[in-house]
């Protein structure tokens, strides 16, 4: 087991280095880092020259890559082309906000999905089961941004019609976020809609997996044996079936991280949330490659970490998995 983890870890490092080279050469080759600056009507030759020197843009791509990698490791990804701003502080700030959003959405999604999945598996082919299945299909077929727009309009109009504020439709916190409970509630009201939007797709996916794996477990031999031994129906469900049915879900949740990021990009853009997604889109629109590359590196690292977690967790949870 330990050897497996170490080997997996080393492999992840290699993948990360390869990914960093791919990201760097891809972004550098496809975009002129100075395009944005040249677009400023009065950016002087001197300014452009300074930046060319600072970023070693006159060198070949592999040389630039080495400088960039050095900058990334020793100097926290360095600074932006535009404004020479340190990248990492901005990135950490938005990451914190996105984590709040993602963690809240995922926990709620898992809760709801497990309840729906288990219930529809236990009552297979019931009205509830059909409804839940239909909704999960619809959830998977709905574009995230469209759902976000619809909810935004809906809640603005709830405010206009009833003069009741349930959720805010933009931004991360109020003008006076306050502290303590007030802060938490304010944040919850601002994150409410983005959480619902992110949950929709996750609940749809997870509940289908939960239902399927629950069905598989319920019909398996050992559960039948348990039942035959006279374990109560509730005991069978909770102790035997439910626990084992959760195992595949763990993997799915961890592997879903990359997909979740896509939803985050769109959701944060619609709701003007100061998170990773909006940061990324803004930098892309500006056309500044350095924060874009830093962002891609950070997320690639996160995806790799989550894949690793998925693998290891699966090993811990499912004794049938062998390592070789």
């Amino acid at each position: 087991m330990l050897i497996y983890i170490v080997r997996r870890l080393l492999y992840s490092v290699v993948v990360l280095i390869a990914a960093s080279f791919i990201i760097f050469s891809f972004v550098s080759l496809s975009n002129d880092p100075l395009a944005f600056l040249k677009m400023q009507p009065n950016a002087s030759e001197q300014t452009i020259e300074n930046i060319t020197k600072r970023k070693h843009l006159d060198q070949s791509i592999p040389v630039q890559y080495v400088y960039w990698a050095k900058d990334a490791i020793t100097n926290q990804f360095g600074t932006t082309t535009i404004g020479n701003r340190p990248i990492l502080p901005d990135l950490t700030r938005v990451m914190g906000h996105t984590l709040q959003l993602v963690i809240a959405a995922e926990i709620l999604a898992i809760l709801v999905a497990v309840i729906i999945g288990v219930y529809s598996a236990l009552r297979q082919y019931s009205m509830f089961d059909y409804t839940a299945t239909t909704f999960s299909f619809v959830g998977l077929a709905t574009p995230v941004f469209w759902l976000a727009l619809m909810l935004q309009v809906l809640f603005v109009n709830i405010y206009l019609w009833f003069d009741v504020r349930i959720f805010y439709t933009a931004s991360l916190s109020g003008v006076d976020p306050g502290s303590g409970l007030h802060f938490v509630l304010d944040r919850a009201q601002h994150l409410g809609l983005p959480i619902i939007v992110l949950m929709a797709a996750s609940v749809a996916t997870y509940s289908r997996y939960m239902r399927a794996s629950m069905l598989e477990v319920v019909n398996s031999d050992y559960v039948r044996t348990a039942r035959a031994k006279g374990v109560s129906e509730r005991g069978v469900t909770m102790r035997h079936a439910f626990r084992n049915a959760l195992i595949p879900l763990v993997t799915i949740v961890a592997l879903n991280f990359g997909g979740l990021l896509g939803g985050v990009v769109v959701t944060e853009t619609v709701f003007a949330l100061d998170g990773m997604g909006l940061y990324f889109v803004t930098q892309l629109q500006l056309g500044d490659p350095y924060p874009v590359m830093a962002w891609l590196m950070v997320t690639a690292t996160l995806v790799i970490v989550f894949n690793l977690i998925a693998d290891i967790a699966y090993g811990f949870l499912d004794p049938r998995v062998r390592y070789d």
């Binding site: 993948v15 390869a18 990914a19 791919i22 990201i23 891809f26 972004v27 496809s30 975009n31 299909f137 619809v138 998977l140 077929a141 709905t142 574009p143 995230v144 941004f145 469209w146 727009l149 619809m150 309009v153 603005v156 109009n157 996916t205 289908r208 997996y209 399927a212 794996s213 598989e216 595949p248 990359g258 997909g259 990021l261 896509g262 990009v265 769109v266 853009t269 990324f280 889109v281 892309l284 629109q285 056309g287 874009v292 962002w295 891609l296 997320t299 690639a300 995806v303 790799i304 894949n307």
Partner: protein, 329 residues
């Protein structure tokens, strides 16, 4: 349904292995392969037709496909027929979906947008299916270092955060038509190529698995002994066994491609006007609020309907072709 059936030309093809739930290979040789294979497809067709939602969806999708293909004949107006007096009019009998900011009939624009989006989705699906199958087949059939290299590359692509890489590529490369030497690639094709580049990985893994498990089987050995080349074995002998998973994955890719292309276009990095696409119609029409609800609602609903239909068909196909693969989403 019949278009799903590959021509089962006599001789040695053995598409039975994964299709039948308890197909015994030696038995299928003895009992006459052609007959057996056909009955497998008949089973599959039967199973699919029993899936009422899938059949309904297929009919809807075919209808939508017809509308898209014959957009010129079906659409009541041209997609750029401007009526600069009748701007942003609410839905009415003349314009069931209302009109847009230049007084263009929105139903017609949605139909043409549908055409672009569907075209991109099928293009992406075909391209990535072909590529994914090829990579998976080569990796699985040859194994060893080839397999290792190809699969590590696949893993690497899977590591990249999908939509973000797409956005970067689309923002930096896909905004204008590009020309590589004498070949000029139009902007929607560019977006399609970028999408396809990230969508083949899942299928490559699945196909590799099938090839890996089948390359040692007797019917492959037999083909080898009778002097068939690697290419022939990969294409004629093993490939038919992957048709199930390939078709199912392809439908999933279509659904994903439609949603992702719409998101790209919505964020402004996808298909650029004046080419109408469903996502960019929503972005263009998102002038806010209930005042112009039809501009956002209709193209969105169309996306939902297509994606839903494709997903149902995929579900039906999975039941029909690949009953053991229920859990792979």
């Amino acid at each position: 349904m019949t278009e799903q059936v590959p021509a089962t030309s006599g001789a040695v093809t053995a598409p039975a292995e994964r299709l039948g739930s308890s197909a015994d290979l030696s038995l299928s040789y003895e009992s006459g392969l052609e007959l057996k294979a056909r009955s497998q497809w008949a089973y599959a067709r039967m199973r699919f037709l029993r899936h009422r939602l899938a059949v309904g969806s297929l009919i809807i999708l075919i209808l939508i496909g017809f509308v898209a293909i014959f957009a010129k004949q079906v659409a009541p107006h041209g997609f750029n027929d401007q009526d600069l007096v009748n701007i942003a009019a609410a839905p009415s009998w003349d314009h069931p979906f209302g009109t847009d900011l230049l007084g263009r009939d929105y139903l017609s624009r949605v139909i043409y947008g549908l055409r672009t989006s569907l075209w991109v989705a099928f293009f992406v699906a075909l391209l990535s299916t072909a590529f994914g199958t090829a990579v998976g087949a080569v990796a699985g059939y040859y194994g060893g270092t080839t397999d290792n290299l190809l699969m590590r590359f696949t893993d690497l692509i899977l590591t990249l955060p999908g939509l973000a890489v797409l956005l970067t590529a689309a923002a930096f490369l896909g905004q204008q038509s590009q020309s590589i030497g004498p070949i000029s690639i139009s902007q929607p094709v560019m977006i399609g190529l970028i999408l396809a580049f990230l969508f083949w990985t899942g299928l490559a893994r699945i196909v590799r698995g099938v090839y890996l498990s089948l390359r040692e089987k007797e019917f492959v050995e037999a083909a080898k002994a009778s002097g068939a080349g690697d290419m022939r074995i990969m294409v004629r002998h093993i490939l038919p066994n992957c048709v199930g998973p390939i078709v199912v994955t392809m439908t999933l890719i279509i659904a994903t491609a439609i949603l992702v292309e719409a998101a790209l276009s919505f964020l402004g990095f996808g298909i650029q006007p004046p080419n109408p696409a469903l996502g960019s119609l929503i972005a263009e029409g998102n002038v806010g609020g209930l005042g112009y609800w039809w501009l956002v609602t209709y193209p969105g609903l169309v996306i939902v309907i297509i994606a839903l239909a494709v997903n149902f068909i995929g579900d039906g196909l999975r039941d029909a072709l690949d009953p053991t693969q229920r859990l792979r989403a």
